[in-house]
Symmetry: C2
């Protein structure tokens, strides 16, 4: 089952010729989630061959323009292209009023449902399906801001068919064993579930953290995630500028990734002052070797 | 003195891989005007090497998203890049509330003045400097919509120095003659101003008309403009679709251009159904030979 993230935008507030405002598409099986939606996200989707009509849920970190200004145009285009599928948007307080005023100003009548869920993040699960859950984590920026943790849900244990056969367990008991039950023979012998099944594989997890001062207290929450996207607006020689503006440096992001024992780190949300990203790669890898930069168009598997 | 228009976006509401939402930059001497500002206009400016900090006035035809959604991001970037120069935006009613709600939602404090002037178009002059004037013309769309007429102002008559010398007119009278005065000799002979001066050169004019049903009654107003940009969302075989949605066809735009005796026609605001624009060129030129299509990045001189 595919589980990967495509980078659509990696720039901080001032875009550049090659870098657009924050946006990513997270693909999980047949589901597509959009994470942040900077200006021009619909164009980036077209460039990268991503059908944005398939996006079911959008997670917006915060209401600074570089993270949500692409929403209005994308919703408008979805509507023009006869979308019927509902869309749910999770973000902080204020978006609903803004969308409503847009609709009324433009005299826009939507032919599909757009639900906006405004959240005060407190580690609550905001979305949950049979296979994935999404948790909202509080960040520390100039305005309320949310980090998103995407976690595959633990699958069922798999039946150890050979073992069951060897022990003579009847076929009709298989369904309850797969659901976690132990098995007791007619003569009272108990076979605990663990002896009859295999562990489900490890679940996969992805964390998206921008814009924020680095948050060491989140280490526990994101410990061991397979992939962490963390902002690194500045290099560490501009540490004080980063802190003044409630942003992080490459070094800070990488130390955090190492301490949280994540599988791989991608940094993004780069200031327009950086023409290339070699120094970011170097700074991050010196702290955490499995670091990369969020080049637009790149696809990072979560594995 | 340069007087030209650069096409930044030529798509109707659904953008395509190659065509963006409506926007143009009009250069008049040292002044830069932006006409419409679809999503991604700031990126297009960067691509085409246009410094949008030099834009002093923005003219928005109407408040459908494909004509103004780039404003928020552009104002935000102008602010981040320390703009001090004031900006004036002319449009229909509703933008001011929307901008104000954006600023407060994003907690955005602007360091330069943005004045929004909301207009009910009635052929009034909305902007005037020593050298140019801009008139708001009512169009007929699904919501209030404005056509913009940019007219160079008539220059001063030039002194016919040889003629004045021949007639023995004293040097001290030259200034008043240049300002339009006649000259009377001491013995009462009157030399009318036209005999002492040359006509100023013809003034140059540009008209921008989108989104609308074709408006034959505007012929008089735009008669003889050097360059007309007119929407041609559809080809004429979709005439009824065009009229249902309050748009024009290529044929209609070209007949209008011919009747108004304009110098040159550019059509734009193309539906995403048209992969290339050959049929638009053919349809327009069959009615008005000096027709072209608004290819993004093209610069059209007004001459």
């Amino acid at each position: 089952m595919p589980f990967d993230v495509t980078i659509l935008g990696s720039s901080s507030a001032t875009p550049t010729l090659t870098r657009r405002h924050s946006s990513q598409v997270l693909r999980f099986g047949d589901e597509k989630f959009l994470i942040d939606c900077g200006e021009g996200t619909q164009n980036r989707c077209m460039e990268y061959g991503i059908n944005f009509q398939k996006i079911s849920h959008i997670f917006i970190s915060h209401l600074h323009g570089d993270h949500f200004l692409g929403l209005f145009g994308m919703i408008n285009t979805m509507n023009l292209l006869s979308r019927k599928k509902p869309l749910t948007i999770y973000t902080t307080q204020g978006l609903k009023n803004l969308l409503d005023l847009h609709y009324s100003t433009c005299n826009l009548v939507l032919h599909f449902d757009v639900e906006v869920i405004e959240i005060i993040p407190d580690f609550q699960i905001v979305y949950e399906s049979a296979t994935i859950k999404v948790t909202a984590m509080p960040l520390e920026h100039r305005i309320p801001c949310i980090g998103w943790l995407f976690e595959e849900k633990r699958g069922e244990r798999k039946l150890n068919y050979e073992q069951c056969k060897k022990l003579g367990i009847p076929f009709k008991a298989f369904a309850s064993i797969k659901n976690g039950a132990d098995f007791k023979t007619d003569n009272g012998t108990l076979f605990p579930n663990e002896e009859l099944t295999f562990e489900p594989r490890e679940t996969l997890r992805y964390a998206y953290i921008t814009d924020t001062l680095v948050q060491p207290q989140l280490k526990k929450q994101i410990s061991g995630v397979n992939l962490l996207y963390h902002e690194a607006t500045f290099l560490h020689n501009l540490e004080s500028r980063a802190h003044e503006t409630f942003h992080s440096t490459g070094k800070e992001a990488a130390i955090f990734a190492a301490q949280a024992k994540v599988g791989r780190l991608i940094v993004g949300h780069f200031s327009s002052r950086y023409k290339d990203l070699e120094a970011h790669i170097e700074e991050c890898r010196s702290q955490f070797p499995n670091s990369d930069v969020a080049i637009e168009g790149s696809v990072f598997p979560i594995k």
